[in-house]
């Protein structure tokens, strides 16, 4: 075995903005055009294309822990999807040596109607565990998750925290050689988070290679031994941990994106149901409503973030939680409801929002729309979860209320 666990060599990834022809009716003209004009070469951007990753190269040695940091839309998720074989780079090559395990959306394989027990076997198989391995580790998985007697209850009756804990526990017992982690520290409560951190430190001690994507610099600093900073798909800094994290803060503290000259969407109202500046108990759930109007047809990724003393605490977008952008036609509007349990230490938190689009452009950015002060209460409980709910809105995908694990908790 070589000493290099992961090697990325000048990886570029192109995405297409806007709608693709996705009915057969549209295929014929598209094919005809392709035949007439020929397919565009990989390295050239078409008018609707943009680079999600540009010229990304790095190496991770066996047993190292690399942190990948950057603002929303910097390309972190795309990079992870390439590492987990979900996407193929447009140009460039990469190599992973060893069994890859991913802690990304750990509950993706769950079926709500199946019990916890059934889901352990299903989800274990999905992430590549053998049945005998699952059977052998079954008790350990249940034990780690703390689900206990609810193991024979359908997971649709679980709280989102229980769901995520079970998902994490299954993934944690895969025993991969290379572990890829995205935003999982928001899983469950503090006790569980602490357990996860200890578990990851144990893995590192045992020589597992770790790739850790996070907005939480404290966690990155405590877990990783090097980092790369992504900015608009490029590697903006890489190498020594403190230097890269410093760069992130330099750009991130009062980070203000350049707004598009021609905004295609604007905020009608951003409000907090419980009041503008409020005091809450730790764990209390606060709901924010964001009403957006599009002035032109657009694919938007409204974002929601919470920061404390200029440090991001929670940072997520509609597209990340839903897996697709919010599509609005000109004149249409939608109300997004962000609901967050403030399971955070006492302090003053600033709530901000932005309206971005799929190509990484920003139509609006407001870092301090509300202030929430979390009171001093030693009993910190519940889940630090962001729930997302899109209301009315004539957009095509304004249907279900969904709760998706995302958002980022602060470490104890």
């Amino acid at each position: 075995m070589t000493d290099v666990a992961i090697e990325m060599d000048t990886v570029w990834k192109k995405f297409q903005r806007g709608e693709r022809h996705d009915s057969l009716r549209d295929l014929v003209p598209a094919v005809a055009r392709r035949i007439l004009h020929g397919a565009p070469p990989a390295g050239v951007l078409g008018e609707a294309d943009f680079w999600a990753l540009r010229d990304v190269s790095f190496q991770v040695e066996r047993g190292d822990a690399l942190g990948i940091i950057g603002h929303n839309g910097a390309g972190k998720s795309t990079l992870l999807k390439i590492l987990t074989k979900l996407l193929r780079p447009t140009m460039g090559t990469y190599q992973t040596n060893g069994r890859v395990g991913a802690l990304i959306e750990v509950t993706a394989g769950f079926h709500p109607d199946l019990t916890g027990r059934e889901n352990i076997f299903l989800n274990g198989a999905i992430i590549g565990m053998r049945r005998t391995d699952i059977e052998r580790r079954f008790d350990a998985i249940v034990d780690f998750s703390g689900i206990g007697e609810f193991i024979d209850t359908p997971v649709k009756r679980y709280s989102s925290g229980m769901n995520a804990r079970l998902g994490f526990s299954i993934a944690a017992h895969l025993e991969p050689e290379i572990l890829i982690i995205d935003e999982v520290l928001s899983v469950g409560d503090y006790t569980f988070q602490g357990k996860c951190i200890r578990w990851m430190q144990d893995l590192l001690k045992n020589g597992t290679t770790v790739i850790f994507v996070s907005h939480n610099m404290d966690a990155v600093l405590s877990l990783c031994n090097s980092a790369i900073l992504l900015d608009h798909g490029r590697v903006a800094a890489k190498g020594e941990l403190t230097k890269v994290v410093g760069e992130y803060y330099k750009s991130g503290g009062r980070w203000q994106p350049e707004l598009l000259a021609q905004a295609r969407a604007r905020t009608v109202e951003f409000s907090c149901a419980q009041g503008r500046d409020l005091l809450v108990d730790p764990g209390e759930r606060v709901t924010f409503e964001h009403t957006i109007t599009a002035t032109a047809d657009s694919e938007l990724t409204p974002g929601f973030f919470v920061s404390r003393a200029d440090k991001p605490v929670v940072d997520t977008t509609y597209a990340r939680m839903r897996g697709h952008p919010l599509r609005l036609r000109a004149g249409e509007s939608a109300t997004i409801r962000w609901s967050l349990a403030f399971n955070l230490p006492a302090g003053v938190y600033e709530i901000g929002f932005h309206i971005g689009d799929f190509a990484g452009g920003y139509h609006e950015h407001q870092a301090r729309a509300c202030i929430v002060t979390v009171g001093d209460d030693p009993r910190v409980r519940g889940d630090s979860y962001v729930a997302l709910d899109l209301q009315e809105g004539s957009g095509a995908d304004a249907r279900v209320l969904s709760r998706a694990p995302s958002g980022q908790g602060v470490l104890p």
Binding site: R20, S23, L24, D113, E118, G128
Partner: protein, 282 residues
């Protein structure tokens, strides 16, 4: 191309436990909280046989004959086969899109999704086949040596269905209207496949055209070997109204087998080559 088939086979084999888990999931979900329970498995074949009986009854009335028990057996045998094909395609076509949470988030060979749909449908069809086993003796069907053909015919049916399933699940991922086209085609497909009738009833030219449907060879083969006890290695002719008509030619089976195998290989290659785009397009 051979490399595509090889890696597909290896990867699916390595993930056979996942395949099993997903098929189990589909079966469990089908019977959990379902009012009809296991009756569901034979619901569609029963409906097919009933509709076939009505049509045959009407035909018998016009020609002044009566409906024979063997006709019921004929329709039942082919009906179960058709129900398998329709059921599997119905589930497989939307298997990739329906599992988009998995397709966009976790890597595993995507073939297992349509394959598990076919697997889950095989379970239902096994119940249908067991039911047939009980019913057929009452319809006057005896045990024949020609039953040795059944495993081969069922294998071809599964192969053909799997090939079409792989193709359609992939097509539906890129073009969402495929699902609706499939629904319509399957709804009327029963009239283009000899389920309610035998190809020979369509006349000389008609039966030649009917044989073009790859399912004809398989389903007619099942009928002739199970119900009529004929050996499929030799051409079979019957005399209808004083005219001798060929009702079976071994080449029909060879044709169906070729299409089934070629379809399976072709769609495997296509699926393999496109699957790196799935996460982006789903």
């Amino acid at each position: 191309m051979i490399a595509d088939i090889r890696t597909a086979t290896i990867e699916v084999w390595e993930h056979r436990e996942l395949l099993e888990q997903l098929a189990r999931r589909d079966i469990k979900l089908r019977y959990k909280q379902a009012a009809m329970g296991f009756a569901w498995a034979i619901f569609m074949p029963c409906l097919i046989v009933l509709s076939g009986l009505i049509i045959r009854f009407a035909m018998a009335q016009i020609s002044g004959q009566s409906l024979a028990k063997v006709d019921i057996a004929n329709i039942a045998v082919k009906g179960v086969g058709w129900a398998f094909f329709v059921g599997a395609l119905g589930f497989a076509t939307s298997s990739l899109v329906g599992n988009s949470a998995l397709v966009t988030k976790i890597y595993f060979p995507r073939e297992v999704l349509p394959l598990s749909s076919v697997g889950a449908q095989s379970f239902d069809t096994s119940i249908g086949l067991l039911t047939l086993l009980v019913i057929l003796p009452f319809l006057g069907v005896r045990l024949h040596a020609s039953l040795v053909w059944v495993p081969l015919l069922l294998l071809l049916l599964v192969l053909f269905t799997t090939g079409v399933s792989l193709f359609l699940s992939c097509a539906n991922l890129f073009f969402r209207d495929v699902k609706y086209i499939v629904q319509i085609v399957l709804m009327f497909g029963i009239f283009f496949t000899p389920i309610f009738y035998e190809p020979s009833m369509l006349g000389a030219r008609g039966s030649q055209l009917a044989v073009l449907n790859p399912l004809t060879g398989i389903l007619e083969g099942l009928r002739l070997s199970v119900v009529e006890g004929r050996d499929l290695l030799h051409p079979i002719s019957v005399v209808i109204k004083g005219v001798e008509r060929q009702v079976w030619n071994p080449w029909e089976l060879a044709y169906s087998a070729t299409i089934a195998i070629a379809g399976m290989l072709g769609s495997t290659v296509m699926f393999r080559r496109l699957q790196h785009l799935f996460a982006e397009y789903v």
